[in-house]
Symmetry: C2
Subunit: 411 residues, 2 copies
């Protein structure tokens, strides 16, 4: 059966299952029960995060709760986090699907993987662990531990692959350097860096520091974690397109965009029974890549995620892409600041400068702060209040992720 035909079959099955939920039963009323062509999906309505929140906790559940065996949630702190319910079959399907990604990263029966992200409610660590075990790989579920313990385990168990967020790689490297542990003592070959958006430049820096190859992995809790992954050629991310179907839309008008056009990634699950999602708007900006990957895989590819739809911020009427801003900052400050950075924007902008919080490696060099301020002013026309803040300030949040853009009330 052709890939398209397989996808169409899975899609029709999913549309059918979705209608078992209260949410989709009402939402999909009047829409065709069966598609003849996968392109007809474009006529279906989007699903938004807000809608899922509004029918929290069980409104989008498409199976009896008795069939559910596992729950994961996004890191939402309000209790209205995004949910991912899984049946036994969902667990099996996700393990098999995601295992494809890990196989692509080079994981085999003899690999030793240390997972440095939190277990429990976070789907990433748990579901990827199942996927690696599907391939027979050995997983050390380190979770959130001290740098000392993480490094001890890497050495003790001769770990060849580590998984963590960008900030954590930098943090670990600083620790290794501070403790003067020779890199030769490690057996590391490869790292998966996920959970945050990062540039090729940042990636190269970490590869240079650790002397390993870094792969990107994209996913989100709502679709049961990682669904797109890089192969050795790193020409975009291969989609698990028999598991989740991607589309790219214009975030303004919702129209589907042709390949190579940048827009918002929209996902339709193909093998989720407990909580299928139809045209779910991710808020992540990317494009579907044309052409074939030299690796020979025929799956749909997307470019690495550049930014989020809602990350574009307007400050005093000026449109700012915070990820571009971060790139500027790292260019200007080079090796003199750590990569965790926070942009603080006031909710009222009248007499208030936006702030940028960075950790200087040499806190006495206040001159750098004014250089950054001056250069950003030239580039953006905005005067940022650039402040040094202790690095400890950034070591918090689930999986050590730092909220990059923060809105604050300031009177």
């Amino acid at each position: 059966m052709s890939k398209n035909k397989t996808q169409l079959n899975l899609l029709n099955k999913t549309l059918n299952i979705a209608r078992n939920s209260k949410f989709y039963k009402s939402k999909l009323q009047g829409f065709p029960l069966e598609l003849k062509n996968i392109l007809e999906l474009q006529n279906f309505p989007f699903t938004t995060k807000k809608e899922l929140r509004d029918c929290y906790p069980f409104g989008a559940l498409a199976v009896p709760i008795n069939d559910v065996v596992e729950l994961h949630t996004s890191s939402g702190t309000t209790g209205k986090a995004a949910l991912s319910f899984l049946t036994k079959e969902d667990l099996k399907n996700s393990s098999k699907a995601i295992a494809k990604a890990w196989k692509c990263f080079g994981i085999t029966k003899s690999s030793r993987v240390q997972f440095m992200m939190s277990y429990g409610l976070f789907s990433g660590a748990t579901l990827n662990t199942y996927a690696i075990q599907e391939l027979g790989g050995f997983v050390v579920p380190a979770g959130i531990q001290s740098a000392e313990k993480q490094i001890q385990m890497m050495l003790d168990f001769k770990i060849d692959t580590i998984v963590g967020t960008v900030g954590y790689y930098f943090y670990l490297f600083d620790y290794i350097k501070e403790k003067q542990i020779p890199l030769e003592q490690f057996s590391l070959k490869c790292g998966i860096m996920a959970g945050e958006i990062y540039s090729d430049k940042v990636r190269s820096e970490i590869e240079r520091k650790f002397k390993i190859k870094i792969f990107d992995h994209y996913g989100l809790c709502e679709v049961n974690t990682g669904i797109a992954y890089e192969c050795e050629f790193r020409t975009g991310l291969h989609f698990l397109d028999n598991y989740v179907l991607p589309e790219i839309i214009d975030p303004e008008n919702g129209k589907v965009l042709p390949v190579d056009n940048e827009g918002e990634l929209v996902l339709t699950t193909l093998k989720k029974n407990a909580l299928p999602l139809i045209r779910y708007r991710t808020g992540d900006i990317t494009s579907i890549k044309s052409g074939r990957c030299p690796c020979g895989r025929s799956s749909i590819r997307i470019n690495r995620i550049k930014r989020r739809v809602d990350d574009i911020i307007f400050i005093k009427g000026i449109k700012i892409d915070p990820y571009e801003l971060k790139e500027y900052l790292l260019e200007i400050a080079g090796d003199n600041i750590f990569s965790d950075i926070k942009i603080r924007v006031g909710n009222s902008f009248e007499n208030y400068s936006p702030e940028i919080l960075v950790s200087l490696k040499n806190p006495s060099s206040t001159n750098l702060l004014s250089v950054i301020q001056k250069t950003l002013k030239e580039k953006t026309l905005l005067t940022f209040d650039v402040k040094h803040i202790s690095r400890d300030y950034f070591q918090r949040g689930e999986n050590n992720k730092v909220k990059f853009v923060e809105y604050v009330d300031k009177k």
Copy 2:
């Protein structure tokens, strides 16, 4: 096949597998390759925690590391934690075995279980989760979260069963009371309270507070978590005796003790491939119960764990059982202190009184401290320095466990 015959077969298989490890190959040299009777196990040498530490990390591993897919460790902070390696088959076997315990607690396909212990390296949460899912139950892997979030999830997902440590149940109840959340809003029916030794009195108190039934569950990381569990009659803990074989020995001379005699629990695994253990000394004091349980299960039963071998402390020449001391304390102070208590003993006792740290519910009632001191003096002949300490002091450590007896250097 009779149970004894099954156990003998599994035991012989285990002895055979164990010899694949460097550690047991040398340790079991000269001992019979095959037992004709299960009682011959008594001639085999014990395995101690120290021995396992000495051959850390791979010395006791009985399969090629390539066959291992998961690692768990005890909460040791030194990097020399007790290890539990698992192959794919081990994972399957442990899920099936431990599922028996959860079935006994009343867990079915329609149960909703919230696990309030840390995931990741700790084997308890992960392996019990697999076991509950084996029965089709729904697991919320809450892990370590704020009380607010734990309670929100219990309410949102209509949780009927919670799992946590003793101290955490008390902590949660205080939170519920403080926030004035009516107990009727919960769907709770049952709680599993594990990871710490606690008395029947403490159990009754929690049952009264939450209006649920509490079950005990015994296990340890080295044998892949929970291996003995209570049934509805709660006349001792049923052993998963086709998974792990218990013996009771005199901790002084190592002789096997008859049923109903209190001594140290010694364990031999019967279905572990990656890291089989032969006659592992647990340090936990209990006895094997004679007679039959009214529930009809024919498995070996042990009494609830009373204390640990190494918990007996000598202070100024006087032998103190800290768990008995805790009972005294709770008797004397009743509802006026929290159940987390710490006994601090100096490493040098010359001019130094042992300390007892408790949190008073009404910190201005210092009179209670002197009453405790006076009564303990009568009971133990020792003068304890009884101090009130902020309750926050106890909220720490993996799974919120508090180190009950602490040795401190004091000059």
